[in-house]
Symmetry: C2
Subunit: 489 residues, 2 copies
């Protein structure tokens, strides 16, 4: 009977991953299942983040938290529930979030007098506190972050990308001037979000400003980082909002300036979520499964001892190597003796572990081992005495190479487009389209209806072009700087 069980598991484990070319969306789901990252919960739209997926989130969280703290950000925790009345105080804000809210109407065995909304974001309840905490210019800037769960009811859920509940961080600040609030939002965008996503997740991004229709509900301006996925669609990977004094006016957040005048503060808010894991998967993974950049991988090196018993000399050497290196790297030794080496290779390949070390009796006799890169499949022999030099080199190479490859893939699709015909062709092909646009909302709506494609941002990375320009769609006068258009997640 245990053998039958083992075969069942084997069949399950051998389930082939759909290829990207065949069905990208099916491939995405298969990669998540094969790497055991997450699954749909019995509650519609919600997900269960399994231990290996959660370990990736912990790495993301720990690194971001460190970067925030280096900037002087302090963590706090605010209630899950928001009084209905709070949300209604900022008119655009409530309009934007209403369709997505989950509402508690009963608690403690009674109907509540006022319904409570499960937080879809926490501007309102946090700024109610800011209005009490801030009195003088000496209390500014106030910079607070919280790591929390968020609920936005989702009709078409997809693991990590769109779920009714997700995990995120939300930063909230208050400043004396509009300029400081804007600068802070941009500082977080560049110095934390872009830096982290490029250096750790190996996802190149464009930073830019959202169009009016794509702004956060209640913001003066929304800035974003956008990353291109392998199927040519864009993913908004993080946002930072310049809230100006919009919320400060609704929540009466004022301060006495150093001349004794009462003024409204200006604010920013900014967040990234478990969505980053979706982007990570779609940036690097292949038809064999997950590919993880070393700097975010929960296991950076997996050692596969090729031996048949627990007390073999090969196993002993594998353990010695692990003991020697585990202070420097996240190392796992797969010491299961009921699986063949090939089955183990397959499993850790699907889980995206950057480097696999194969260690057999012949290798041991030569004081050597074989290192296999997950991203390229490249194999190389390595003297065991040289592991301390070779492993960091290899991990760095993989990290850099993943970023470079993603950058090349993106840049190859970048297309400047000046006619509507080319625009439609470009959208059909996928990737980023750079076009002059009139910035009119109704024109944007028409483009969306025709092509299912929206403005991603007005990127900071490119210069204004000389001369007069017209909108690629309606022909009216356009911004000299090209907007990025793409289909998006």
């Amino acid at each position: 009977m245990p053998i039958v069980q083992h075969q069942q598991k084997g069949d399950e484990a051998m389930k082939k991953i759909t290829s990207r070319s065949e069905d990208y969306s099916g491939w995405y789901s298969d990669v998540i299942a094969a790497a055991d990252l997450a699954e749909h919960a019995p509650v519609r739209g919600c997900m269960i983040i399994k231990p290996y997926g959660y370990a990736i989130w912990e790495n993301i969280k720990n690194q971001l938290d460190k970067m925030f703290k280096e900037k002087g950000v302090e963590n706090a925790y605010f209630p899950l529930f928001i009084p209905d009345e709070f949300l209604k105080r900022e008119a655009e804000h409530v309009e934007g979030f209403s369709p997505e809210l989950a509402v508690v109407t009963h608690a403690g065995g009674k109907k509540l007098e006022e319904p409570l909304v499960v937080r879809p974001t926490s501007e309102t309840i946090i700024y109610d506190s800011f209005s009490k905490w801030i009195q003088s210019y000496r209390d500014l800037p106030m910079v607070i972050n919280q790591w929390a769960n968020i609920v936005r009811w989702e009709k078409r859920p997809r693991l990590f990308l769109r779920t009714s509940e997700f995990l995120w961080q939300e930063g909230h600040t208050a400043h004396a001037t509009a300029k400081e609030a804007e600068d802070y939002a941009l500082m977080i965008l560049h110095d934390v979000y872009q830096k982290f996503v490029e250096e750790y997740l190996a996802m190149p991004v464009y930073c830019g400003q959202k169009s009016r229709s794509e702004r956060f509900a209640g913001a003066l301006n929304t800035y974003c980082i956008e990353a291109l996925m392998q199927d040519g669609k864009s993913l908004q990977a993080g946002t930072a909002h310049d809230l100006s004094d919009n919320f400060a006016k609704s929540f009466d957040v004022t301060f006495l300036d150093n001349e004794g005048n009462t003024r409204h503060v200006c604010q920013s808010s900014w967040g990234v979520s478990t969505r980053l894991i979706g982007g990570l998967i779609m940036s690097h993974s292949d038809d064999k499964g997950l590919v993880l950049p070393p700097r975010i991988a929960p296991i950076q090196l997996v050692i596969i001892p090729i031996c048949k018993t627990e007390d073999d000399a090969v196993m002993a050497e594998a353990r010695r190597i692990k003991d020697e290196l585990e202070k420097l790297y996240a190392i796992k030794i797969d010491s299961r003796i009921n699986l063949r080496p090939g089955e183990k290779y397959y499993e850790w390949e699907k889980k995206g572990v950057p480097v696999r070390m194969e260690l057999g009796p012949k290798d041991l006799a030569n004081n050597s081992c074989v290192l296999v890169r997950r991203d390229t499949g490249e194999k190389q022999a390595c003297l065991i005495t040289e592991l301390k030099i070779k492993i960091p080199e290899l991990l760095d190479n993989i990290q850099n190479s993943l970023l470079e490859k993603a950058k090349e893939r993106r840049n190859e699709t970048n297309t400047n487009v000046d006619t509507w015909e080319d625009f439609e062709k470009g959208i059909e092909r996928g990737g980023y389209i750079f076009a002059h646009w009139c910035e009119d909302e109704s024109c944007e709506a028409q483009i969306k209806e025709k092509t299912k494609c929206v403005t991603r941002c007005l990127p900071f990375d490119f210069d204004k072009e000389d001369g007069e320009h017209v909108c690629v769609h309606c022909g009216k006068k356009a911004n000299g700087k090209r907007w990025i258009f793409a289909k998006a997640y």
Copy 2:
């Protein structure tokens, strides 16, 4: 005008903390406000954990998480919402939690077909997953933890001690045998909870088994750690439940054993929460405010440079000392020049920072500084060159001394009681009463009605007494081991 503002703040800052002897409950609230740890939220029963309070929680969380991981525990994340039907599957469980539930009835603009409960604990939704994840004995033991927010509607909220929403960790395990599940619960109780609470929070605890009426709803047995607060009341600081196969039967969590038989798993679950911060406050703090054990303090040493400008030699030396020591200790330098030294001493005293360093021009001339212990107020001069030896000594001394003092305080009140008259007197006086008890639920209910005091636990730490024993209340045959009784939070 700024001067007026400053005076207002000064008045607020100088608000006296109610003394413990005058009004213990008022003292508790004042200490929290004076240290700026948390406050009541505009949502009834919920709290806002402010940055300094949250930094304590982060230290608790990081240390516990490290200890869990050393035991092989893996973190995961399960949904906030639980289908109503899940809770109803375990009869005792739903009965226990029903009065405290918050219920989502509307989401995404529609009435839900089945209401969703905001998790009061996650046994049901996690074990639904276990039933899919566990197939064979090879999948056991399964050991999962989650850090999450929890909602149990609270009619008489108190910051940290009882709030409608709180933060916690909940561990959930599945094992092949009942013995393994019980052993795991006890291992967590002793090797993680007791160890952490005593060694880090400096709170001595008794470990023991709860009476039937005090058990977790759905458990075979609940084990707990109990700590005595300064007012003679007990605080349940953590629990570990032996669930046997109760939930496994309701959620069909089975495995094929190595002989091919299908069997139910046996389980444990265990948790500690932000309640620990309430215990921490009530264990060590005094009439001057918060007292924190060094191993959990967000700031271990605060340097107060006594000078009037930012570019003073004293300030420069303070910064040099900070740079030298901050890799070893959590150090803050209070460089504000708009406050007098005395105001700063007062502020950091209220925040419970274990050691304060005073550094003035005369000290600097002698290459010396003054170190002041928060717990005893003891002052000592220290050569700056000897700080590297003196500071760790001092922090260790404070840590040990807080634990010893708490232990002495508790042990002094411990009273063996054999008559009902002495029992009532003992309860009136406060502290732990050790008494023989018949273990009958109706007897326990009567004791509670008469004295407002309940059984805390049958402690593991004491031996059975020889001879026959009778219940201190009803006179029936009693356990040879004494139970602990006390008023409790």
